[in-house]
C-alpha cells in the first residue's frame, strides 16, 4: 500500500516573546493512500498546527514529514510552494475563495501556480464544477453563492491538481446540519473513488463519517484508532434534485 503522508516524531515549537510554546511534542503516524482520517482534540491541542505542517504551509521544528517519497521538512519556501501546488488540496472552514474570480476561475487557481493552464484544463475545471453540482453556476462569483455552494467550489478546487491528499480544517464548521451532510456525502464519495482525506473537526457527528480517528492532546497523540461505528452519508442528498433544492433555498 502506498503511503500518502508519514510523520516521524514531528515537533513544532512557537517562540512568543521569549516563551516557547510546544504546539506539537513528537507526533508520528502514517496515512496510507485512500484513508479518510479525522483529527480531533480539545482547543489548543495542536490540530491546526499539525494540519499546517501536513499542508506544507509551515516547517516542523524537528522530525521528518514525508509526502510520498520526499521529506518536505527541510525544503525551501519555493519548493514547498511547488509541493502545495501539485500534491495538496486544501479545504478551509471559511471556504477561502477569491472574491473577484468566478467559480471556474477559482477552481483553476492551483493549476495556474503549477504553470500549466490549457484548454483541456479549462474543460476539467468545468467538469469538476459540474461534479460538485455547480455546473450551472460557472460564471457566478463567490458572493452570489450560499455557504454550502462555496464550500463545494472549494472542494472542486482542492481536487483540480489531483493531490496526494485533501486537507480539510473544520470544513463544516460554518455550515448548517443539512449542508454538513451534503459536504460529508461528497467527501465520502471522493474517498470511495480513492481520494485520501485528512480532516480536522470538533464534532463527533462529523468524525463518525471517517474511517479513522486520531485524537490529540497537548501536542501529542492520545489515541489513533479505526472508526468502528462508521456512519455513511445518505447518497440521496447528492442527486441533482438535492443540488436544485439547495439552489431554490438560497437562490
Amino acid at each position: 500500500m502506498t503511503i500518502a503522508a508519514r510523520c516521524v516524531d514531528l515537533k513544532k515549537d512557537y517562540v512568543l516573546k521569549g516563551e516557547t510554546v510546544h504546539a506539537l511534542r513528537g507526533v508520528s503516524f502514517e496515512v496510507p493512500e485512500g484513508d479518510y482520517v479525522a483529527i480531533m482534540g480539545p482547543s489548543g491541542s495542536g490540530k491546526s498546527t499539525l494540519l499546517n505542517l501536513l499542508g506544507c504551509l509551515d516547517r516542523p521544528t524537528a522530525g521528518a514529514l514525508f509526502l510520498g517519497e520526499d521529506d518536505v521538512s527541510t525544503m525551501t519556501d519555493d519548493e514547498l510552494s511547488w509541493i502545495r501546488a501539485t500534491r495538496i488540496g486544501f479545504v478551509f472552514q471559511s471556504y477561502n475563495l477569491i472574491p473577484q474570480l468566478t467559480v471556474v476561475e477559482n477552481i483553476e487557481v492551483p493549476l495556474y501556480y503549477q504553470g500549466r493552464l490549457r484548454a483541456s484544463d479549462r474543460e476539467r475545471c468545468r467538469q469538476l464544477a459540474a461534479m460538485v453540482g455547480l455546473g450551472d453556476r460557472l460564471r457566478h462569483r463567490p458572493a452570489q453563492l450560499s455557504g454550502g455552494q462555496q464550500q463545494r467550489v472549494a472542494i472542486a478546487r482542492s481536487l483540480v491538481n489531483d493531490p496526494f491528499f485533501i486537507l480539510a480544517d473544520e470544513p463544516t464548521g460554518n455550515l448548517d446540519s443539512q449542508t454538513t451532510e451534503e459536504i460529508l456525502a461528497l467527501f465520502e464519495r471522493l474517498n470511495d473513488d480513492g481520494k485520501t482525506i485528512i480532516m480536522v473537526t470538533h464534532e463527533d457527528e462529523v468524525a463518525r463519517h471517517t474511517k479513522r480517528i486520531i485524537r490529540l492532546r497537548d501536542g501529542m497523540i492520545q489515541s489513533d484508532a479505526p472508526n468502528t461505528q462508521r456512519k455513511h452519508a445518505g447518497t440521496s442528498y447528492w442527486s441533482m434534485a438535492g443540488a436544485a433544492r439547495e439552489g431554490v433555498r438560497h437562490g
Binding site: G55, I98, Y112, Y113
Partner: protein, 442 residues
C-alpha cells in the same frame, strides 16, 4: 508567456474590484505624464519661437543702438543736448573695421502720415537699401529704396503693408504723394511691402519691432529735410531731442568674426561710456544665450514634471499598500494553493504597472492634444479678451507647442518605471507575509 497573460488578466480583474480607486490612481499618473509632455511641448514651442525671432535678426549682424538717457541728462536750461550715435562714428566704423561687409545707418521718428484726409500714425524710418534685406522685408509692389535715392536725396518713400492699407484703401499707392505731419513737403510712394511679423524684444537693449506701421525714406533725405533736432508735441509740452542716428546695423563677412568685430566697435564707442547712451547687441550671442536658456528651461520643466510623477507614484504606492492589507487573505489563499513569493510579487507588480501604464497612455493622448488645446485657448482669448492677449509678450502670444517625439517614449517609460518602483515595496511586503497568518486574517 501564458503565465504572464493570465497574471495580467487577473490583475485587471482585481483592479475592477474598486473602479473608483483605480480610476483615481490612474488619474495621478495621467496628470503626471500629461504634464511632462505639455511642459516639454510648450517649453520647446517658446524656445523655438524665441530662436526664430533671434535668427531673423541674423547671426552675422551686430546692432548698435542709441539709448535715450534720462531727461535730466539730455535737457539743460538752454534745451535738449545731443546724445547717441553720430554720423561721424558711423563713417569711422565703416572705414576702419575691415570685417564689416555692410552698414546701415538708421534714424527713426514717430510721425503722422497723411494722404488727402486720411491720417495714420507710424514710424518714419530713414535708412539705406540694405535695410530691407537685413530686416527680411519683402516688396509686394514697386521697389524698395535704391542707391540713387540715397545719393540724390530723393523725396521717395516705401510703405509698410498696414500704412498702405490705411492710407490707400481703394487706390494704388504707387506714384501717390503722402505728407508727413508738421512738414509741408511730400514723399512719392515707390513701393509697398508685404506684411511682416513683429519681432520680440530681446533683453533690455532691443525693444520689440512692429514693422507694420513703417514708412521708409532715404536717410540722406531725412537729414536734409527733418534734421537732427526733433520736437514732439505732447499735450501742452514740447519734448525735443537731438539725435543723429538711432541705430547702425552692421553685417560682417563671416559669422566667426561677429564677436571680435562687436568688441572692436564697442571699443570705438568708448566715449559713450559716461552717458551710457549706446548699446551693442549681438544676435549671435543672444542666440547662444537662448540655447542655454532652452536647456535650463527643459531641466526646470523636467524637474516639475518629475515631481508631479513622483506624487503620482506615491499615490500608487499608497493605494497598493492599502490593497495589499485589504487583500491579505487573498494572498494567504494563493500561497496555500501553491503561489511562490515571486508569483505574489509579480501579481501586485502587474497591477501597479497596469495602473501606471493606463495612466501613461491616457497622458500621452492628452499630451498630443496640447497644440490644439493651446490653439483653442488662443482663439478664446482673441475672441473674448483681445486686450489680454495683446498684453502678452510676442513670444508667448505666437507660441506653437511642439510635442517632442522623444517625450512620448520617455513619458511611457517613466510611467512603467513609476509603476515598478512604487509597486515593488507593497508587492514585496505582500509576498513576505506568512501564509498562515495571512489566512487567519479576516
Amino acid at each position: 508567456m501564458g503565465r504572464w497573460m493570465h497574471t495580467i488578466r487577473m490583475g485587471c480583474k482585481s483592479l475592477t474590484l474598486h473602479p473608483m480607486r483605480s480610476a483615481l490612481t490612474i488619474l495621478g499618473i495621467f496628470i503626471g505624464v500629461a504634464s511632462v509632455i505639455w511642459l516639454l511641448a510648450i517649453g520647446e514651442g517658446i524656445s523655438r519661437e524665441a530662436q526664430r525671432q533671434i535668427e531673423q535678426l541674423g547671426a552675422d549682424t551686430i546692432i548698435v543702438r542709441s539709448v535715450k538717457p534720462p531727461v535730466e541728462v539730455t535737457v539743460d536750461r538752454r534745451g535738449p543736448t545731443p546724445y547717441g550715435l553720430k554720423r561721424a562714428e558711423y563713417e569711422r566704423i565703416v572705414e576702419t573695421v575691415p570685417t564689416i561687409k555692410s552698414a546701415i545707418p538708421i534714424r527713426e521718428i514717430r510721425r503722422q502720415f497723411r494722404y488727402r484726409s486720411r491720417l495714420v500714425d507710424g514710424r518714419l524710418v530713414g535708412c539705406t537699401p540694405e535695410y530691407a534685406d537685413v530686416n527680411k522685408l519683402v516688396v509686394a509692389r514697386g521697389r524698395f529704396l535704391e542707391e540713387t535715392d540715397i545719393l540724390k536725396k530723393q523725396d521717395v518713400c516705401v510703405l509698410a503693408a498696414r500704412v498702405a492699407e490705411r492710407l490707400f484703401p481703394l487706390e494704388d499707392p504707387i506714384g501717390k504723394r503722402i505728407y508727413i505731419s508738421e512738414h509741408t513737403d511730400f514723399y512719392q510712394v515707390v513701393g509697398v511691402l508685404e506684411p511682416r511679423n513683429p519681432t520680440a524684444a530681446i533683453g533690455g537693449s532691443l525693444s520689440a519691432q512692429d514693422y507694420s506701421g513703417d514708412v521708409y525714406i532715404p536717410i540722406s533725405t531725412m537729414r536734409q529735410r527733418i534734421g537732427d533736432i526733433v520736437v514732439t508735441r505732447g499735450s501742452g509740452t514740447f519734448e525735443g531731442e537731438i539725435l543723429e542716428l538711432n541705430q547702425i546695423t552692421l553685417r560682417v563677412h563671416e559669422v566667426k568674426d561677429v564677436l571680435a568685430t562687436a568688441e572692436l566697435v564697442q571699443d570705438m564707442l568708448r566715449s559713450h561710456d559716461k552717458l551710457n547712451d549706446v548699446a551693442v547687441v549681438v544676435p549671435l550671442e543672444l542666440l547662444e544665450q537662448a540655447r542655454t536658456m532652452r536647456l535650463m528651461f527643459m531641466v526646470f520643466m523636467g524637474l516639475i514634471a518629475a515631481i508631479s510623477l513622483v506624487v503620482g507614484g506615491i499615490g500608487i504606492m499608497n493605494i497598493m499598500l492599502a490593497t495589499v492589507t485589504e487583500r491579505t487573505r487573498e494572498i494567504g489563499i494563493r500561497r496555500a494553493l501553491g503561489a511562490r513569493r515571486s508569483d505574489i510579487v509579480r501579481q501586485f507588480l502587474v497591477e501597479t504597472v497596469a495602473l501606471s501604464v493606463l495612466g501613461g497612455l491616457g497622458g500621452i493622448l492628452a499630451g498630443y492634444a496640447c497644440p490644439y488645446a493651446v490653439e483653442l485657448l488662443r482663439w478664446l482669448l482673441e475672441t473674448y479678451a483681445p486686450k489680454t492677449i495683446e498684453s502678452l509678450p510676442v513670444v508667448v502670444r505666437n507660441v506653437k507647442p511642439t510635442v517632442l517625439v522623444w517625450s512620448i517614449p520617455l513619458a511611457f517609460g517613466i510611467s512603467v518605471l513609476i509603476g515598478v518602483a512604487f509597486g515593488l515595496y507593497p508587492a514585496v511586503r505582500a509576498a513576505r507575509m506568512d501564509p498562515i497568518e495571512a489566512l487567519r486574517r479576516q
